[in-house]
Amino acid sequence: MKRVAVTGVGVVSPLGASAAEAYRSAYRGRSGIGLLDAPFAHRLLSPLAAALRFNAEDHFDPPKLRMLDRVSQFALVAASQALDEAAINLRDVDSGRAGVFVGTAMGGSHTVDDGYKTLYGDDSDRLKPFSVLMGMYNAPAAWISIEHGIDGPNLTYSTACSSSTVAIGEAWLRIASGGLDIAIAGGAEAPLSFGSLKAWEALHTLAVADACAPWASCKPFSKNRRGMVLGEGAAMLVLEPWERAVARGAFIHGEILGYGLSTDAGHITRPSVAGQAAAIRAALASATLNPSAIDAINAHGTGTLANDATETAAIKAVFGERAYRIPISATKALHGHLLGAAGALECVLSLLAMQHAVALPTMHLQTPDPECDLDYVANCARDGVPARTMLSSSFAFGGTNAVLVLGAGASR
């Protein structure tokens, strides 16, 4: 297996419109969550979201924009950032040797929502001609290939909240096995349509707004956590063989060391300690690392009652007593749950945290929960944490658990 370097990162997120900006916001504990400013907000029980200020006209010509759902807009901007930073000339890559791997849980949700409004709300048959191609789940990945002329594998993964962790992991496998020379991998999500928000609301997993501080409504691992907050955005990484990156003098953000998958095979939403622990163990095994080699963790940490207690137990199951000494960050307190883009955003934040020798904070953790008693780096970033390895975990509805092992990047 080849070593795999991350040579470019791109982010469009509630924490900022670049990876560096998102990292700074996360470091400072600046929340991207707030009350949603939308015409339908009054019909939501709790109009919370981590929404973007994103002006699509700044990025796309009008004829092209008419064909892009918001999710594809995010994906394209993040992918361009990542490729620009990697400074790769894709013409130097052999045909078929570059690929695109994108995760999304809800695809073109706004397009689908608009179509239903026309059909059922307006009682009209006037569905727009682009409805299919804007709503289809593989549109974000397809547009990246079209924009950059990437003619190798073009794959879309939809495993709910673990979609983009799966996408990065599957891309890692292709690069590590020698099947590809370049991969764009990550995720995109634009779930803040009325229909999507109402559907999530009906599931009773969304947080109730904190009356005093809406931006602090997502409280991972806190006793008074009330649920998750939906967020939108995209994060993309450029992966390539380590030797290739070194040979061309690329800046290396870090390394993907391993990737583990498991499936709960139990309940459609309820997480399982055994399933989460199995994914962590599988990731460690693929990296040929012992649990003792892991320095820090970016938790799935959604802020739901079920996940955070389960995840804490799973970390203890794998790491034993040492679990109490591993800094664990849950950045969803700030950027919300980007569903199919969450894992990629957290992977990028983790790589940047290692570069800065920082453990990012788990914000809004004011009330300790006896069931969640590990070191979550509560409320304030911790400097001087020289992590060389991190886990980035994503656990999904449907039961697909995915964990990446990340390396800080210097020679091993």
Partner: protein
């Protein structure tokens, strides 16, 4: 009276931010960035603008002029009235 051509031009300017001065009946849609897929969307909006219904089969429309003639034909057939202008501003019938 506004001609069909002028109404198409104003749609292209508004929806595709094209330069009105550069648009002529001979302008190729493809060169304006409107490929066959784009034409499908343009014609969807044309249905609303001209209050016509497109037949199920797709028409082969290569230029702005093709679109104008196609619309004029549909308007005449579906509204049973002479086309108000078409490509030229003069009334079609001197007697009108």
């Amino acid at each position: 009276m506004t001609t069909t051509f002028e109404r198409i031009v104003s749609m292209l300017v508004k929806d595709y931010q094209l330069n009105a001065d550069a648009l002529t009946p001979d302008s190729a849609l493809d060169e304006l960035g409107i490929d066959s897929l784009g034409v499908a969307e343009l014609m969807f909006n044309v249905e609303d603008e001209f209050k016509i219904t497109l037949p199920p089969e797709a028409a082969r429309l290569a230029t702005v002029g093709d679109v104008v003639h196609y619309i004029d034909g549909l308007v005449a057939a579906q509204h049973g009235v002479p086309v108000p202008g078409g490509l030229i501003k003069a009334p079609l019938s001197p007697a009108a």
